[in-house]
Symmetry: C2
Subunit: 558 residues, 2 copies
């Protein structure tokens, strides 16, 4: 194990079970298994016997993160291993990492330390190709659309009103705003355009929300790609390629089976970001897991204001899911940050900043309670945390009447997660998710839904439609798309649309600058503040430290 890169070293040193043994433990019969190498497989869901009553579902959310992340995937994996250690038949359902952040700021997204899904190298690099299939399906729609315009434009598409963008699984700011179709009549029609990152693609959302390949085919057909010159919507079905696009996504729709370092079966499938998309792994994977395991632990990206809100208002609505318990991952580091500590001082003991920063965590606790659920705070332990700091968090939680425990899963794997797991079992043996309800009713209209989220979850005074949003709202209303759930794109660093407003900002205004209908996904994306659907790379991207050794093993993959 090298000091620089313990996650990779721990993963490479691990003895993994053959994937057939993982499947056996999970209750997946061999004929349902499509192996990808020796330790990964896709699952043919229709060949897995479903039981009548689904198992329990634990949703892992978090407080507002620092740029380095608070280890939500790590806690999710560690908790699943903790349930396994406690003798429960457990599974974990995670999102697939995007190569954009892997090569950029964040590095891998397979958990960390002794709480990882494995093989982390493969999961972080291409995996079973799902994101590539989504990229290609997305870009095939774009090419066929521009080709339709080129060859006579029978549908009378207005080139100024194409809303379908191309995507790449790369952080590439230079592609955010471009002009395409230059070079003369044989090279298409010049128009403004731009690329998003794959994880923001509507295809990604559709793959994650579809209940079957038939449902996916219908949703792909429903995608609105452009408007005609007479302002009528043009769909993928009208382009005549809903079949071809579904064919391109056929294998990507099958959940991927891997394992945790603790030997717990893991489904890693789909991966929309939670700031610019709906932030939850696939519904088919969640359903498969709950149909097999007694406890499924799954995560939704970033804080309760992003992934959890969307899990509970979008994914749970589509899939008829009801979480039985919710975890809020907190860290001493993030609490100090929200209490005013500088980013480069987060390793210094500072109980006062931590106390101040609990305002952020308290808002997340309140947010989960607004859905009729009672959260358990998991304090994800970092090496620099002091006993006084950890004690201060637990004492705060006790004063607030919030269940809380330390999760020491990075260092100790499942054993470090049993305290949190026991709290979760206590919640589930109580009322669990019996009082769960959604936050808003889409029938009240987009503005009402957005206002409800802004006020109740973000602590805002209200919303303001700016830039393209007022016209976009009229378009939604004219087309009857204003009664859909809303997927807010917002910075993960603040409850507000201003990334620098830490803690628990109050009475701010949520600035909504555009409303993008995603008819196939079944929601409207509200773009707030300056959030970008194509990230950029930092000055020193993670790619600079990566390599392959003589044996073909990854080096420098965090």
């Amino acid at each position: 194990m090298t000091l620089e890169n313990p996650d990779l070293a721990i993963s490479q040193a691990a003895e993994l079970l053959p994937i057939t043994e993982v499947a056996r433990r999970a209750g997946i019969p061999e004929q349902a298994l499509i192996p990808y190498g020796r330790d990964k497989a896709k699952v043919e869901v229709s060949a897995v016997p479903q039981r009548a009553e689904p198992g329990r579902l634990v949703l892992v959310s978090a407080m507002s993160p620092t740029p380095a992340g608070e280890g939500k995937s790590t806690v999710t994996v560690g908790l699943a291993d903790a349930f396994t250690l406690l003798g429960t038949r457990a599974m974990v359902a995670l999102r697939e990492p995007s190569l954009g952040p892997v090569m950029g700021m964040k590095g891998g997204a397979a958990g960390g330390g002794h709480a990882q899904v494995a093989p982390m190298e493969d999961i972080n690099l291409h995996f079973t190709g799902d994101f590539h299939a989504i990229q290609l399906a997305n870009n095939t729609i774009a090419a066929l659309l521009d080709n339709h315009i080129q060859h006579g434009n029978a549908l009378d598409i207005d080139p100024r009103r194409v809303q379908w963008k191309r995507v790449l699984d790369v952080n590439d700011r230079a592609l955010r705003q471009i002009v395409i179709g230059l070079g003369g009549p044989s090279q298409g029609t010049p128009r403004e355009d731009g690329f998003d990152i794959v994880v923001a693609s509507e295809i990604m959302a559709i793959l994650c929300l579809s209940t079957s390949l038939t449902d996916l085919r219908r949703r792909v057909g429903d995608i609105v790609v452009a408007m005609t010159r007479s302002r009528e919507p043009v769909t993928v079905r009208e382009l005549g390629i809903d079949g071809a696009i579904t064919l391109l996504l056929r294998d990507a729709m099958k959940p991927n089976l891997v394992q945790t370092l603790g030997g717990t079966p893991a489904l890693v499938h789909g991966g929309p970001f939670a700031n610019i998309a709906h932030g939850c792994s696939s519904l088919v994977a969640t359903r498969l897991a709950t149909s097999l395991a007694d406890v499924t632990v799954t995560e939704a990206g970033f804080g309760s204001d992003l992934g959890a809100e969307k899990f509970l208002d979008i994914k749970a609505r589509v899939g008829g899911l009801r979480p039985d318990a919710v975890v809020l991952v907190a860290t001493v580091r993030a609490l100090k940050r929200h209490g005013g500590a500088a980013l480069d001082r987060l390793e210094d003991e500072d109980v006062e900043a931590l106390q101040t920063g609990t305002a952020n965590l308290r808002r997340h606790v309140e947010n989960i309670r607004r859905f009729g659920l009672e959260p358990v705070v998991a304090v994800n332990r970092f090496p620099a945390d002091t006993p006084a700091e950890l004690e201060a968090v637990l004492a705060w939680a006790a004063r607030q009447g919030v269940r809380a425990a330390v999760a020491d899963v990075w260092a100790r794997g499942g054993e470090g997660g049993t305290d949190v797991a026991r709290e979760l079992l206590a919640v589930m043996d109580g009322r669990g998710g019996e009082d769960f309800h959604h936050l808003y009713d889409p029938q009240d209209g987009i503005e009402a839904s957005l206002t409800r989220i802004a006020q109740d979850v973000y602590g805002a005074r209200g919303i303001q439609l700016t830039d393209a949003a007022p016209a976009a709202l009229r378009r939604l209303q004219r087309n009857g798309w204003d009664r859909l759930p809303v997927c807010v794109a917002k910075t993960q660093y603040s409850f507000s649309d201003d990334a620098s407003a830490l803690g628990a900002p109050q009475d701010h205004v949520l600035h909504v600058r555009d409303l993008v209908p995603r008819i196939g996904a079944g929601f409207v994306v509200a773009l707030t503040g300056s959030i970008m659907t194509m990230p950029g790379l930092p000055k020193q991207p993670a790619a600079l430290r990566m390599d392959v050794d003589e044996q073909g093993r990854a080096v420098g993959l965090f």
Copy 2:
């Protein structure tokens, strides 16, 4: 078997061997096998015992094609199955299909009828993800390059002299010429740019020409992506990401094992187009095949003027390969077309047009002989061919002293290929490839090499440097890059750079409009005529007829 789509129906009806049994037949030990599903695998080459003396190598080329293609992959597969039937330990080495043409004009590229590699659905759709890995590696370089410019530009890259383009595996003409980096200082530096298709990427060429992962890493580092403001080359190594890019390509470097419908082991790996790239499957796959099989049948794209010339002058030079025999695939259809028959009359008997069209085939025969090799003409039989037409081709070949036989492999599989296989065995039992030599010596300089190819292979009077080419040549000379082999990008429909000049045009001039150094690949691309490195889609793309049935099986994939 449906009338509309027999290739797919034949493939779906076939009983495939488990990939472990295919590997056993090929002599690949189980520990070298990385399964992808039940009937595909990647091969860990280092775990395969190599024998001292490589087996024989048969190269399949063709006459100049019609737009529908002359069935070169079909004949390649059928011949391998014929060798298997004749009791020879045979393998086939093919390129992977690109999804651009699969969705566009051409449809699948896994052979046809009873001469296919299987499973054709998977091979034609994503396969084991190699092209996606190449796409991502290529585009990660582009993003890191623009990011370097954005964050201080320490290497002093001239944004006007970036030569590294992004790629997609989609036919997308609207991306040929674009402007990126618009929208202000946080979105990059505005500059002209464009996308190529994945199969034209230098990364594809490098993957196909590298002898090992170490060699690939060196070549990736050597890639020149841009020039500085003082006109010095900037490499991927200087960007500091040769390691990361190699890591992204690690699995893609492993050859893919599948099978023919006749049960012959097949390596399908890499896939540069032969008109806009070097047109040959990977060197590692060819070497693996010849180290295992007594006869390896491989193809190079399009005619002797494109894939074969590049196989013999580029791939064979890099890999120290020597073909023992060469096949020229001819069809009655293409002969009539080159003799003046209209595209919509190719099913009508027309012996006179066919006789005239033999001028095209004769040039291809002469071309192969210029390399010291003696070709065998394989007349790939189509349903509409009449006995008089087939007889006319064979009689012509007899008069010319060219070995020839009919290949009826689409209808009859390997059995339909034994006549051609016996001719090949006769060649190989004679002088075989003993007199093989390259056409030109790169040390004579790019202009001399290009002139030699233009005169000897294309029948041209000479070459003319137009547009950007004269300045590009000076740049090559200044940097010492003018002694590399040349990879000509030229239309496949004609020996000239004018797609409408059929037959065997003489005394034309080859117009070279640009010379692009591909230092990592080790050659210079000469762009001729109006050939595009990003294809467009036709008015009725193949995607329009594709679908998935209730059982998740492909529909309409040709």
